[in-house]
């Protein structure tokens, strides 16, 4: 166990064929918050991250689909700017 960082926050981007996109969306929704059209993000425990990764792996077709997971230590390890308005009825980021 060398580089054993404890990642607790992730960004997840997916490019998935329309046939499977519903399934992938549903899996992501269980663990993370829908942020943009094909972007999820949120706090996640290392054990849940393993679960999520495994479920996605079993759902996608690895020859066609592409998912990228950016792992961060926690939600304070990055900064965010937004431009324009988010027309999705998602949770407000600024409470």
């Amino acid at each position: 166990m060398s580089k054993n960082y404890n990642y607790n926050y992730v960004f997840l981007f997916y490019d998935v064929s329309e046939k499977r996109v519903q399934k992938v969306f549903k899996i992501c929704k269980k663990y993370l918050i829908h942020h943009q059209k094909s972007v999820f993000r949120g706090s996640i425990s290392p054990s849940n991250l393993i679960k999520l990764r495994n479920e996605l792996k079993r759902t996608i077709l690895s020859s066609e689909d592409f998912i990228s997971i950016i792992k961060l230590i926690n939600k304070n390890s990055f900064d965010e700017e937004t431009l324009g308005t988010d027309n999705k009825k998602s949770e407000s980021l600024f409470i």
Partner: protein, 167 residues
């Protein structure tokens, strides 16, 4: 004859850390909120999904996987394989009592899934005698009034009982 209550986990903990063994064996359970224990459980689930083989329960022990030649025990990391070795030896003995002869195999799932390490254990005459002694010791030990005093060491920091021992 082995008493009913000693499980693979208990023998593993006895070798690893006597205090952890006493606490676990006397139903003081702090593992439910341990992230590492959770990760271990999930890795187990994933492995059994892949191979479509599930845990087998015999008496009070749970065997991860059994093949024609081997009894397989899965572990998340290869920290303290000595404890795992005894755990596997206990299982082999149990099976032998039931008339099933197998060799032991320990599969380690590293965080990086590429280098899977496999270790082999066999039940020899010496091991069997040692195991019998060990089991008697553990039984005596578990029925003692109090757990042994905590000794700080490097292995403590990943333990589910860390807070309990170092209040």
């Amino acid at each position: 004859m082995i008493s009913i209550k000693i499980t693979g986990t208990i023998i593993n903990y006895y070798i690893h850390c006597k205090r952890q063994c006493w606490l676990f064996g006397n139903r003081i359970n702090l593992e439910d909120n341990s992230e590492d224990v959770r990760i271990g459980k999930i890795l187990h689930e994933i492995k059994s999904q892949e191979s479509k083989s599930s845990e087998i329960s015999i008496d009070n022990i749970k065997i991860d996987k059994i093949t024609g030649e081997y009894l397989v025990e899965l572990k998340k990391s290869d920290a303290d394989l000595n404890s795992t070795k005894w755990q596997v030896l206990l299982y082999l003995k149990k099976l032998k009592e039931k008339g099933i002869i197998r060799k032991g195999k320990i599969e380690v799932i590293e965080k990086k899934k590429q280098d899977k390490k496999i270790h082999y254990v066999e039940l020899t005459q010496e091991y069997e005698e040692e195991l019998d002694k060990l089991l008697l010791d553990i039984e005596k030990f578990l029925s003692s009034e109090k757990p042994p005093i905590a000794e700080r060491s490097s292995k403590c920091k990943k333990c589910a009982y860390y807070e309990y021992c170092n209040i």
